[in-house]
């Protein structure tokens, strides 16, 4: 019989009212990269929480077998002792502390008693930083690191605990392509060194590339496990397993004419909000047409979000210059309120920290952008407000018991639908969507795309910022490529491809270098 590094047998976990996991089986071979995929709510996180002892032994049914030994973890400490480390989507690092301090937090290196040995701490941290290819000073504060490097620090932290089984929850969700690639390469290296890893990911292209085996969960059940070399592994196959039906097209078709130019930004420049000597947006000019989806592609840090926010009521940047023309007339936007009044909407890339008021319910979130529609003077008509919110809940199919549900309790896809509702409620003509489907599962993405199509069908114009190139290529009519604060390419969808876009970026880097 084959020995597994980890075997989870018939795991069943029930919460009051829901069966989150129903007889789930997971078998992970040693020294492999095992991917766990499924829609949001399929039970991936719950399964990993069972494994790591967040849900103690006894609160679930079934067995966890590690190296042939049945384990009963009462808490995280016990699973860590067995060499299991989990890296969550929200990183557990202290921003104000240095790399070394973070790496050994809770696992401090001591000489005697509770006295920390900084020498040991530093030497060990340095060794491991070399191992994972993190080239920074060990005294750098986490604050000053990009997301990619922070992720590496998390991995070092796990390595410091002598990890044997590394679990990564959406490790590349917030990373750009370069950082993602580096991280995945690192997983390969760790594999050579004998570390088994489980990755949870929505990015199927990465999964198909790196995983030795893929287990698909749906509605708390194991659907199937695909083994590299045995089964045919394609994205279509995985998606079919995840959603239970064949998604013929990941991007819904759009069939309507594109109108005249209705929104233009010309010669747009801005300096950094914090550092006024740093020019971050350099002479950007773009235009969009009625009923068109225009994409802005680029690497992380290209300045796309900064551009969007500076246009949206000067929410970013100092000394902003340039003109905005809407429907042939120049408009002046001093603040967000002006922007909304001129029919511009902006959905933030991070819906939790800047898009929604999580402690408020759906209704109060939706009405926030356009109180004037439901008020007499300054007095809000609550009944109209409820009516409006109910309409959106129905139209956008927000899944929740009522509009009085706290948005903090909704799933990512439904939260995004509330964000869309709130901005559609403000009656915009131009919608700037910043990473509209980040961290959302395939099914919900399709629904969001359908909403975008409905908007364009109604003659609105969409500017979509996305780091997922397939999404840009699948949804946009035209693509601007941005790099280091300037537009470095404009492609029609027919001529655009991942290679083309990357080519634009590389070429501009080259030019920048030659200058």
């Amino acid at each position: 019989m084959e020995q597994y590094a980890l075997e989870m047998r018939n795991i069943t976990k029930t919460f009051p009212g829901v069966k989150a996991l129903d007889n789930v089986n997971l078998q992970v071979k040693p020294h492999q990269i095992h991917a766990l995929v499924g829609e949001n709510g399929a039970g991936k996180s719950t399964l990993m929480n069972v494994l790591s002892g967040v849900y103690p032994h006894g609160s679930y049914e079934g067995d966890i077998v590690i190296d042939g030994q049945v384990c009963a973890f009462k808490n995280i400490k016990e699973s860590e002792a067995k060499g299991i480390a989990i890296i969550h989507q929200e990183l557990a690092l202290i921003p104000q502390l240095s790399i070394a301090e973070n790496v050994f937090l809770g696992n401090e290196q001591t000489d005697f008693g509770p006295v920390i040995s900084w020498d040991k701490t530093r030497i060990k941290t340095m060794e491991m930083m070399k191992k994972v290819g993190l080239h920074e000073s060990i005294d750098t504060r986490i604050n000053d690191l990009g997301m990619g490097k922070q992720q590496l620090v998390e991995i070092i932290k796990a390595l410091a605990k002598d990890v044997k089984l590394l679990i990564l929850d959406e490790p590349t969700a917030a990373l750009n392509d370069d950082d993602s690639k580096h991280l995945l390469e690192l997983l390969f290296e760790l594999k050579q060194q004998g570390i088994t890893s489980i990755i949870i990911s929505h990015k199927l292209n990465e999964v198909t590339k790196v995983a030795d085996a893929i287990t698909i969960l749906r509605d708390g059940k194991t659907i199937e496990t695909l083994i590299k070399g045995v089964d045919e592994i394609t994205e279509a196959r995985i998606i079919k397993g995840m959603v239970g039906r064949e998604l013929v097209d990941r991007f819904p078709k759009r069939s309507h004419a594109i109108g005249e130019i209705c929104f233009e930004v010309k010669n747009w420049s801005a300096y950094d909000s914090k550092d006024e000597s740093k020019l971050v947006l350099k002479n950007i000019s773009i235009n969009t047409r009625r009923g068109e989806v225009v994409g802005i592609a680029g690497l992380m840090g290209a300045g796309r979000t900064e551009f969007a926010m500076s246009v949206f009521g000067k929410s970013f940047g100092k000394r902003i210059e340039g003109t905005i023309i809407k429907d042939g007339k120049e408009i002046h936007i001093k603040n967000v309120k002006d922007a909304i009044r001129h029919g511009i909407a902006y959905t933030t890339e991070d819906r939790k920290s800047a898009g929604l008021i999580l402690i408020d319910n759906i209704k109060r979130n939706i009405s926030l952008t356009a109180f004037h529609k439901i008020s007499k003077g300054i007095v809000i008509d609550e009944n109209k407000e409820i009516k409006a919110a109910e309409d959106f809940r129905e139209k956008l199919r927000i899944k929740s018991p009522s509009i009085l549900q706290r948005t903090g309790n909704l799933s990512g896809g439904n939260q995004q639908k509330v964000v869309f509702s709130k901005w559609i409620f403000s009656d915009p003509d131009v919608l700037i969507l910043d990473e509209p489907t980040r961290g959302i599962d395939v099914g919900a993405k399709y629904e969001i795309y359908s909403v975008i199509n409905d908007l364009t069908a109604a003659g609105k114009t969409i500017i979509m910022i996305s780091s997922e190139l397939p999404e840009i290529l699948g949804m946009c009519d035209r693509v601007y490529v941005m790099n280091e604060g300037r537009i470095v390419g404009e492609l029609n969808v027919e001529e655009a491809s991942q290679e083309n876009i990357m080519h634009c970026i590389m070429q501009s880097n080259q030019e920048g270098y030659n200058e």
């Binding site: 009521g313 967000v336 800047a354 402690i359 109060r364 952008t369 009944n383």
Partner: protein, 388 residues
Amino acid sequence: MNKKGSFLKGNIRQYVMVIALAVVIILFQFLTHGVLLKPLNISNLISQNAYILILAVGMLLCILTGGNVDLSVGSVAGFVGAISATMMLKMNIPIFPTIVVSLILGFLIGCWQGFWIAYVGVPAFIATLAGMLIFRGLTLVVLKGTSLAPLPAGYTFMASGFLPEIGKMGNLNILAIAVGIIASILYVLKELNDRKNKRKYGFEVSSYKTFVPQVLGILLIINAFTYSLASYKGIPMVLVIVIVLVLIYSFITMKTIPGRHIYAYGGNMKAAQLSGVNTKRVMFWVYANMGLLAALAGVIFTGRLNSATPKSGVNFELDAIAACFIGGASTSGGVGTVVGAMVGGLLMGVLNNGMSIMGISIDWQQAIKGFVLLGAVAFDVYSKSKSK
């Protein structure tokens, strides 16, 4: 059913505090052998606590913006009292202009603090701590370390006067009875109108089986209260002021756009900003308003004391803050109601008053209030962790 469940859950804290208030009232009614709810004492209870309730209204708005407090309100109240006493006694300025100037002064002080907090970005805690020191110091400067007394009768009217009598019916003040009846009618009309509106939009309304007893209960409380006032000297002026403030600020916080902006600010500042809320302006006005209410509290407290003293207003801010948190406001902002803050303030007031009647010393009272605050917030934290 589901809807009702979640509604109850969301408001449980407030209900619990109302129930706690009722329990405390009944308890002290028993312990004081019925003195607590004697008409005379009810009148006293109101005038003793009015200035804290007024401060709590303004403080709640500060807390809603994200757990920010205003530490200066006690000093501002003392300072405004000192200025108005000086104006009347030293400069012979008539009462009415004095009060107007006092309130404007408070408002300007609020604007001053709002400016530093909202537009310069000084943390509210620091800016108002500075204000606390500044205005306490200025109070001493104005009063030169002594007290000013007695004050003209017209000035103390707001604090300790009663609405004029329009006639007596036996021992009862007719105006108080009439106000009770009018308030009852207005309440019933409002409830019926709400139901009608809800129906118009096709929303569910509660059945008459629950609606009628609820309304009758409230009517009973209103009229028992006004009856008890009627059998003493009638309706105290401060009560009118407090009720008007509660109505105005409840309306602002619950039904108007500026109110929503305050909650949105406290719920998620960034999201509010990116939704078109002018967050700086919200912060500025919240503190400007606090200054105005602090001045009003100062005028009323000075009137009640019938003198302006260097020490008046000390620790008011702490009572007002405690009232808000006991009444269900969240330390991280975005959660809390004006009525809740009033319940919190009254709870502390009844505790104070009840214990005083029983002859428990001030020292113990202080300690017991501390336990109540700790218990209330601990309960809040606990019930939140449960609901997750």
